[in-house]
Every structure is written in structure tokens, then in C-alpha cells.
């Protein structure tokens, strides 16, 4: 089981901030493929990965990062702090 979090427009497009997912995905990219296959709203949110960033266990990483031992994956647009 893994906690999947969504922020900003990704959260709005998918329609929820967080969910717990039972997955065997080995990488972030595999998890994204599983999510896209679920429903149109996921496919829409993940249509352009270049517009998204990902963090695994609260560290920024990329889409080919492994998910072994990961507890939390977050998807969000490029950050706009400051």
C-alpha cells in the first residue's frame, strides 16, 4: 500500500487530495500508467508528464525512480513559491 498525494491543479483535476493505493508498480512511471488506466480524470491529469513533478517520500525525483519501500508519492505541477 502506498499513499498517493495530489497538489494544485493535479488535485483539482483528479478530484481528491490523497488516496491509498494497493499497487505492485516498481517505478513511478508504472504507477502513473496504472492510474491513467483507471478513469478519464486520471488520464487527463497525467496526459503531459513534462508539466508534472513527482516526489517520493517527500524528496523530488523523476518518473523512472523506483518505488521499492516507498510510503508516499506526490504529484504536482512545477512549484511557484516565494
Amino acid at each position: 500500500m502506498i499513499d498517493v498525494l495530489y497538489f494544485a491543479w493535479v488535485r483539482e483535476r483528479i478530484g481528491l487530495p490523497k488516496e491509498r493505493i494497493d499497487t505492485q508498480a516498481a517505478t513511478v512511471a508504472e504507477l502513473v500508467e496504472e492510474l491513467k488506466a483507471r478513469e478519464d480524470r486520471y488520464a487527463a491529469a497525467f496526459a503531459d508528464l513534462s508539466a508534472l513533478r513527482v516526489a517520493v517520500d517527500q524528496d523530488l525525483t523523476d518518473f523512472d525512480a523506483p518505488l521499492a519501500q516507498a510510503r508516499e508519492v506526490a504529484f504536482f505541477p512545477p512549484m511557484t513559491g516565494g
Binding site: 497538489f7 494544485a8 506526490a74 505541477p77 511557484t80 513559491g81
Partner: protein
């Protein structure tokens, strides 16, 4: 070395004075404050700032650690707000304390550049016409790149 993420406003003057008093052996204090910018049309009703609790604090502490390795810093302070803000409201501040002003200035710029595109905050602008997530800027990435070319 302090990181504070809060929805409440902060008192910039009190924060800057307190930081200076706590670092009376530093000699140079640099502060930066970011405020909510109105749109050119003057139509911004509200800015909402979302963040990723947990990762935000973690990312800011990592950024501070990196600054302390690069420059001679006695102390750093980062305050960043989230939630609903109005034009002119202070969003965030950084303060750096160093024996030398060049270090204090450069470290403050470094903290700002990293904070803008590596700390998990997202801004949304609300006007009478609707709401829009603020897009990241290429210039923000360019600002980051200059720090990696330096040794």
C-alpha cells in the same frame, strides 16, 4: 536556523529586529520580503497558496543546509505563509546573518532562488473572472542554474 510555515501574518519589523538581536555577533544582516503582487489591471481579489506539509519543511531545511555549506552564515530565517492572501500582503521573508555582507547577500539570493522552484508551494490567483494557477517561469529555473555552475 529557523523555518516557519504559517497561515497567520508575520510582523516583518519585529522578525528582522529579533533576528538582528539574536545575531549581534554577525555584523551583516540581509533580509528579503516577498509580497502579493496585484495584476497590472489591479483586479487580483485574492491569492491562495497551497503547500505540501512535511515536504515543505524538509525542502527548506535542505536549502538552508546547503546555504550554510557554501557561505559563512551565523544564522538563517525563512518564514513562508500559506492560505488566503490579499494584494500587498507579505507572503514570505528570508533573513541571513554573516560576518561579511557579501556572504549575507549571496546566501539570501540563493535561498530565494531555491525556494521559488524547489520548495513545494503553489500559487493561485483569484479574480472576478475566475481563478488561475500561477505558471512557473523559465527565468526561475535559469536563476537556479547559475548556482550549479559555481563551485
Amino acid at each position: 536556523m529557523t523555518v516557519r510555515i504559517q497561515s497567520d501574518p508575520f510582523d516583518f519589523g519585529a522578525e528582522a529586529n529579533g533576528f538582528a538581536l539574536n545575531n549581534n555577533d554577525a555584523g551583516a544582516i540581509v533580509t528579503f520580503t516577498g509580497i502579493v503582487r496585484n495584476l497590472p489591471s489591479g483586479d487580483l481579489a485574492e491569492m491562495q497558496i497551497e503547500h505540501y506539509p512535511g515536504m515543505t519543511e524538509r525542502a527548506l531545511h535542505q536549502i538552508e543546509d546547503e546555504a550554510r555549506q557554501r557561505w559563512s552564515l551565523k544564522d538563517c530565517l525563512i518564514i513562508h505563509r500559506h492560505g488566503s492572501l490579499k494584494p500587498g500582503d507579505m507572503i514570505m521573508m528570508v533573513a541571513t546573518a554573516s560576518p561579511h555582507r557579501a556572504d549575507a547577500f549571496e546566501a539570501a539570493e540563493f535561498l530565494m532562488d531555491y525556494l521559488k522552484s524547489r520548495a513545494p508551494f503553489w500559487k493561485k490567483e483569484i479574480t472576478a473572472a475566475g481563478e488561475d494557477w500561477v505558471a512557473s517561469k523559465d527565468s526561475d529555473e535559469a536563476a537556479l542554474a547559475r548556482w550549479s555552475t559555481k563551485s
